[in-house]
Structures are given as structure tokens and as C-alpha cells.
Amino acid sequence: MAMKVIPLWTLYGLARGKATTRWCGEDAEPGQAGYLGMPRFDQAKCQQGCRECVDTCLPGAITFCPDASKQRLTVDYGRCVVCQLCVEACPTGALTSSTDWAFGSRRREDLVWTRAAASTDGMTLKREIRRVFGRSLHIRHVDAGSCNGCESELQALNNPYYNLHRFGVFFTPSPRFADLLLVTGPVTYAMRGPLLEAYEAMPDPRFVMAAGTCAVSGGTNGGGYACDNGLEELLPVDVFLPGCPPNPPAIIHALLMLLQRSPQRVQGGQIGPADEHPEDDYA
């Protein structure tokens, strides 16, 4: 019996067939049916004198705008933990649930809602990344104080469904072999040192991704006596990916965006149609 088992596993694996989604950054179904992502904000419906959403937003993603003549509210998706409480609190439907998850962006400002979509200046790509890395990427992940929700989704990247390897993207044990430092958590006082050491150990050119709302801004867990408010003041961040946690396709999209294999989807805090840069080849 025992001797027969390993070939049985092989047969079993073969019989299971291909489990991987056809989704590869664009179109097709990424398996996220029902997902509630970043709430959409419609300024036209926002009611004067109301503060329901501001009071219900624990991480302070929705605040009153200091210059009220332009817009009443500032909605910063870099702080949003997708709890949907604002959607329930809003009496006028100015905030509505959406399935938007592709919130990876190169500029922190692109995560803040603005009336007119921002210029595409910030989307000018780092030309050298394609030249240096080709289409491949090696990632060193550092948990700087997450709740383990982000790790749960990062671990999912290597399951047969998402199969991150097919994109030529790999996790590597040593920062010495890493191109990208992928950080989760708001950065605790004790992880600050090890995090900076991991970054220092990486060869140039190196990139940093703040994955999850905690790493982007501190989220609900940052601050206090033991935490920083994310990476922004600690390391030069190349890709911001809010989400609590970001789902696996959002992480894959952000990684492909870094590699210039997929366009940035969010601008001015709004998911637009894929922004085509005619000069770029995302294939």
C-alpha cells in the first residue's frame, strides 16, 4: 500500500487537471465574485452639514477638506480598510460599494479622490526596470507587524489557482537576491530595524511595495505607542497597494504594473478604464 501511494499522488494531480485561472492581469474572470472593494464617492450627492461617514471611518480615510470651497470631503483610499461602514452610514448614496480592487498606484496622491482625474505625469514609468529585470521579478517579503491577513493572501499567490510562477515572479528567501521588498504591516518599533536591514542588504536597482493599507498609511493599526504609520517616512515606496487585505489579483496586478506589464488603473482615487500608453507594450 505504502509504496503505491506516491505514484497515486502523481496520478491524482494529473487527473485534477489545470486549476489555474486564465486571468492574467486583464479581462477574464479573476475569481473574485462578490468582492466588496473600495467604496465609490460621488461628490454631487454629498449633503452639506452631514458628517455620518467621517464619524464612522476608523482609519480616518474620510476627512473634511481644509479648503471646503473646492470639495467637502477628502477620501483617501490609501487609508481605507474596506469595512463598508461609510456606505451604510451615508444617507444620500454619495458613497456606494463597488468591486474595485485594482488600487495599485505609483504615486500616493493617486489614491486620494479628486474631482478631475490627475494628470498622467506620475505614471511615467521607470524605463530601466524592463531593461534590467526583463519580465521577471524576485520578491523578499517582510512582515513589519501585519494582522496576518495580508500574509494569508500573499501565500495564496502560490496556490494552483493564481500560480504566481507563471508570471516569472518568485519569492526569494534572501534579500541579496531580491529586486522588490514587499512590506506588510504598519511597521512596529521592533520590526523597523530588521526591515531597514533587509532593504540595505538588497542590491541596486531595488524597489519597494507597500502592500495592504497598514503598510501604505498605518490603517487602523498604525500609530499608538508601538507602530509607525506605514512605510512612507521610512523607505522610498515605488508601488502603493491599499486593501485590507488586498486580494490576490490586486497583488498580481500591482506586481505586473511595477514590471510595466500592466497599466495603472487608479487615478485621482478612481478606477478608470485601463489607461493605455500607446508607447508601452504590456504584453
Binding site: A2, V5, L8, W9, T10, Y12, G13, G31, A33, G34, Y35, L36, T56, L58, V81, V82, C83, Q84, S97, R140, H141, V142, D143, A144, S146, C147, N148, G149, C150, E151, S152, L154, A156, N158, N159, P160, Y161, Y162, F171, P173, P175, P186, T188, Y189, A190, M191, G193, P194, L195, A198, T220, N221, G223, G224, Y225, A226, C227, C244, P245, N247
Partner: protein
């Protein structure tokens, strides 16, 4: 039947009586659960709380102890599982315990310093950290030169949570093992203070992400106990459904990861694939792959989408059955599990093991049955127990729990009562409550105190991983390096829950 929580009893105890009362309670078959300190509003004098469970079917009991100027005695010599709680209380609340067997800081890891205990009333302290090399113990004997120290972490290989592990070993043999936890200490308990009780749920879901539902449940149970609110029965049934879906995806992840450590590649892929299916089911039901955002004080927030759940369960169960049978018949996998990481029953009891870990060491305890909450006493709940005490038993318990969870979810779908989803839950100013829930990793408790304005004044989180991390090193000493990863995976620990 309603979702009213069990009434918890409380008693004042003088510091001088603590040791005798503890010995008497243990003698009568009780088990200490946890202890904590808090500063009642406007007071600089800490008040200690000890929570014990007298036995199956009985409600937890609380001892309240106002120690005043005198140091309270350590209860760790009689109830060793309290040792970490006492040391944490010393670090965070500044209460020293007389005759504490290990009077070292715990939450403040070596090299960390706080200007003042962070949970004391007053301004937030600044915390600093300078790494301290791991000590090499004084050793005698001819082989002392051969003893090596391997410090591993806090940044470990693969996508893992941060913690540092120290191995003292000769060749393959581990002489001594010491995890250095709390690199991820985020001060979560302090983050609750000053929040409105409803918003605290969002935070409770973010203490340990893979235990979002159970942490939110334990927190909400505490608020519901404080406000004596009766949760509508439809909500209690839906909460069972969510909690069991959480157990399902966690245990599937566990099996995949365990196969990773025994290098059973197809088994790993299949376990992780089943976990992915379960998470996609979660997403369809709740909008969140971690099932966040549905549990609220007083009930559940909205109707989950259950249309395809019954079908999806059939699919998962069908695949699971074959997978589990094959795991149970693979000798290369079993050889690595059987006799690995032995945790005997007495040790598990004394040191506070909880959840599947204690149940695999022959302790028949599950808070869903023994301290029933919500709708569990109306549903066909079975408790998986094994007495193998090793990694294999821990796997068996989880496999069986998956089938129990699926049965529970089916029972909820079949008998889900109609009715409202949410009752008004407003804990009174100055109130307090104790709540618990069985997470996939064991029992979580939340103790909640409110201030005179009805805001959160103190929230104590007793997480199952804090308990199981304390137990785990006892199973490593004297074993070998080759088995370590398998043993750690078989415990299914989280660091975020432990460090908070």
C-alpha cells in the same frame, strides 16, 4: 432559545487569599484561563482580574483583586499557564508579582524599553529597541564546544510572519529552543481605548486576520454581555455559519502547509487549492475573503448571500474526502508526523494549550460545547478528540473538524430561522463584559470595560496563539532539526494573535 450570553459570576478576593483560592479551584477541577489588569476610570491603582473555568457546562468565573500597595503573589507556581499573563501585566501595566518564577519582561523583548508601562493612564510612552544578541548559556562537559546557536529571524524564509527563533543544537539534535516573540507587538489593546464600542469591531477583526470572525465574535459577545442584549436567533445561526466557514478555510490551509513541510507537493497544492475555493466561497457570501464586516454588536450587519453555498459545499466536501483519505494512506507523510512534537496531556493542561492542540493531547474541551454561546447548543456539534499527542493527532483533529464544520454549516442552511438580524446593543457607561469564541486555533476571550461616557476604557484580548506559543517550545527541546518545521506547522500558530 435566544443568543443571550451566559451570565458570568464575579467575586472579590484579597491578594493574601489568591494562592489558597487558586489551589482550591485547581483541586476542584477548574482551569485558570487568563488574567489581566486594568485601571478603573480616574484611578491609578490597578485592579486585577483572574478568569477561570470551573468545568464543562459551567460559566466562567471572575476573581477581582484590588492589590493596593502590596505586590500580589504570582500564581504561576500553581497554575503555570498564568506566568505569561503576569509577565505581560508587569510590562504593560507596571504591576509586579511576588515570587514570579521568571521575572523577565515578555512583551518587551530583550533590548526593548518603554519609558513607562504603556497601558497605565497618562501620555503614551516612547518605545525603543536595540537588538541584543542571543545569549550562549554556560555549559559544562566535554561536548560544550560542539553546541551551536542558530538565530533564525525575525525575517524568515518564504512568506511568514516575523518572529525570531533560537536553536541551541549539536548536529541534528536540538538541546534547547527559545522563540523570541513580540516583534509584532502593535499595542492593539491600547488602540481600542476611547473608541465607540461599535467601531471596536473593525479593530477586533484586525487583531489576527485569519481569525477575524472569531475575534469579532468574542468582542461582540463581551459587549452583548455588558448590555444584556439578546441577539436575534437568525443572527446567532448566521454567526455559526461564518465561524465554521472560517474554521474550514483555516484548516484547509493548515493541511496544505503541513504537506509543504513534509514535502508532499501534490498534497500541498491540493490543500492550498481547496483553501482558495473556500476563500472564494467566503467572498461570495460576505464580500470579504476573510469574512470581515458581517459580525456586529447585537447581530450581523446584513444578509449574507447564501444562494450557492450548499452546492459549493458539496464540491469542496467531495474533493476533501479523497484528499483526506489519501493523506491518511501516505506513509511518507505519516512517518514524518507520528511521534513528532509530542505534547502530553498534563503538560497541555498545565501550560494552557487550547483548541485542536489540546484536543489532540486528549483534553476533551471546546468552548462551543463547554461554555456554549450563540446557537451552538441548538445544532449538532461534535468535538474531535485524539490522544496521540503528536503532530499526526493534531492533523487528525483538524481533518475531523473540517467534516464537523461542513455538517454544522449544512445544519444552519437547513434550519435557519426567520427573523431580524440585529438587536440594539448599547453597553451602559461604566459597564463591563466578558466574551469568548472558539477560533480555528482555540478559545479567544475578550474582556471589555467601558468608561463613564460609554466608550471603551480597557479591552483585554486573550488569543489562542498566545496560549499555544507558550506550550509549543516544550515539544521542541530534545528533538531534532529535521522535524522542527513539521512540528511548528502542526501547531498552526499565528504570530499576530500572540503579539497583538
Amino acid at each position: 432559545m435566544t443568543g443571550a450570553p451566559l451570565a458570568v459570576t464575579m467575586q472579590d478576593i484579597a491578594p493574601a487569599e489568591l494562592s489558597a483560592r487558586c489551589a482550591a479551584a485547581l483541586g476542584a477541577g477548574a482551569r485558570m484561563q487568563f488574567m489581566y489588569a486594568w485601571f478603573p476610570t480616574g484611578s491609578d491603582a490597578p485592579e486585577l482580574r483572574y478568569v477561570l473555568h470551573p468545568g464543562r457546562g459551567q460559566t466562567p468565573h471572575i476573581w477581582r483583586c484590588r492589590s493596593g500597595a502590596e505586590s500580589p503573589p504570582s500564581l504561576a507556581p500553581a497554575a503555570p499557564l498564568l506566568s505569561w499573563y503576569e509577565r505581560e501585566t508587569t510590562d504593560l501595566c507596571g504591576v509586579a508579582f511576588r515570587d514570579q518564577p521568571v521575572p523577565d519582561p515578555l512583551v518587551l523583548l530583550p533590548g526593548a524599553a518603554a519609558e513607562r508601562p504603556p497601558l497605565m493612564p497618562g501620555p503614551l510612552p516612547h518605545l525603543s529597541y536595540t537588538p541584543v544578541p542571543l545569549p550562549m548559556p554556560d555549559l559544562a562537559g566535554t561536548t560544550r564546544e560542539d553546541v551551536q546557536l542558530l538565530p533564525f529571524g525575525p525575517v524568515r524564509a518564504d512568506v511568514l510572519e516575523s518572529t525570531q527563533l533560537a536553536f541551541y543544537y549539536i548536529g541534528e539534535a536540538i538541546l534547547h529552543y527559545q522563540p523570541r516573540l513580540f516583534f509584532k507587538h502593535r499595542g492593539m489593546e491600547k488602540r481600542f481605548e476611547g473608541l465607540s464600542p461599535a467601531l471596536g469591531t473593525v479593530l477586533a477583526e484586525r487583531v489576527s486576520g485569519v481569525g477575524s470572525v472569531a475575534h469579532a465574535l468574542a468582542y461582540c459577545h463581551a459587549l452583548e454581555a455588558a448590555s444584556r442584549c439578546e441577539v436575534p436567533s437568525r443572527a446567532t445561526w448566521l454567526r455559526v455559519l461564518l465561524a465554521e466557514l472560517e474554521r474550514l478555510y483555516n484548516h484547509l490551509h493548515y493541511l496544505g502547509y503541513l504537506c509543504h513541510t513534509t514535502t508532499l507537493k501534490v498534497g500541498e497544492a491540493q490543500g492550498k487549492y481547496l483553501e482558495e475555493l473556500a476563500k472564494q466561497v467566503n467572498c461570495q457570501i460576505s464580500g470579504s475573503r476573510l469574512l470581515r464586516g458581517l459580525v456586529v454588536p447585537g447581530g450581523v450587519r446584513r444578509e449574507p448571500t447564501l444562494l450557492t453555498l450548499a452546492e459549493d459545499l458539496v464540491r469542496i466536501e467531495h474533493e476533501l474526502r479523497r484528499y483526506a483519505d489519501q493523506l491518511a494512506a501516505t506513509s511518507s507523510h505519516l512517518d514524518r508526523l507520528i511521534t513528532t512534537g509530542v505534547l502530553d496531556r498534563q503538560l497541555a493542561f498545565d501550560q494552557g494549550a487550547t483548541g485542536p492542540v489540546e484536543r489532540a493531547s486528549g483534553i476533551d474541551r471546546d468552548s462551543r460545547r463547554d461554555q456554549p454561546y450563540g446557537a451552538y447548543d441548538e445544532l449538532p456539534l461534535s468535538v474531535a478528540v485524539r490522544d496521540g499527542c503528536d503532530a499526526h493527532a493534531r492533523q487528525q483533529v483538524r481533518v475531523e473538524e473540517i467534516t464537523h464544520s461542513i455538517a454544522l454549516i449544512r445544519a444552519v442552511l437547513d434550519g435557519l430561522p426567520e427573523g431580524s438580524l440585529r438587536a440594539d446593543c448599547r453597553p451602559p457607561p461604566g459597564g463591563e463584559g466578558l466574551g469568548w469564541a472558539e477560533t480555528p486555533r482555540g478559545t479567544a476571550y475578550y474582556a471589555v470595560h467601558l468608561d463613564t461616557a460609554g466608550r471603551l476604557a480597557r479591552v483585554k484580548i486573550k488569543s489562542p496563539s498566545f496560549s499555544n506559543w507558550r506550550v509549543f517550545p516544550y515539544t521542541v527541546h530534545g528533538t531534532n532539526m529535521m522535524d522542527y518545521a513539521i512540528n511548528e506547522a502542526s501547531f498552526g500558530l499565528t504570530v499576530a494573535g500572540c503579539d497583538r
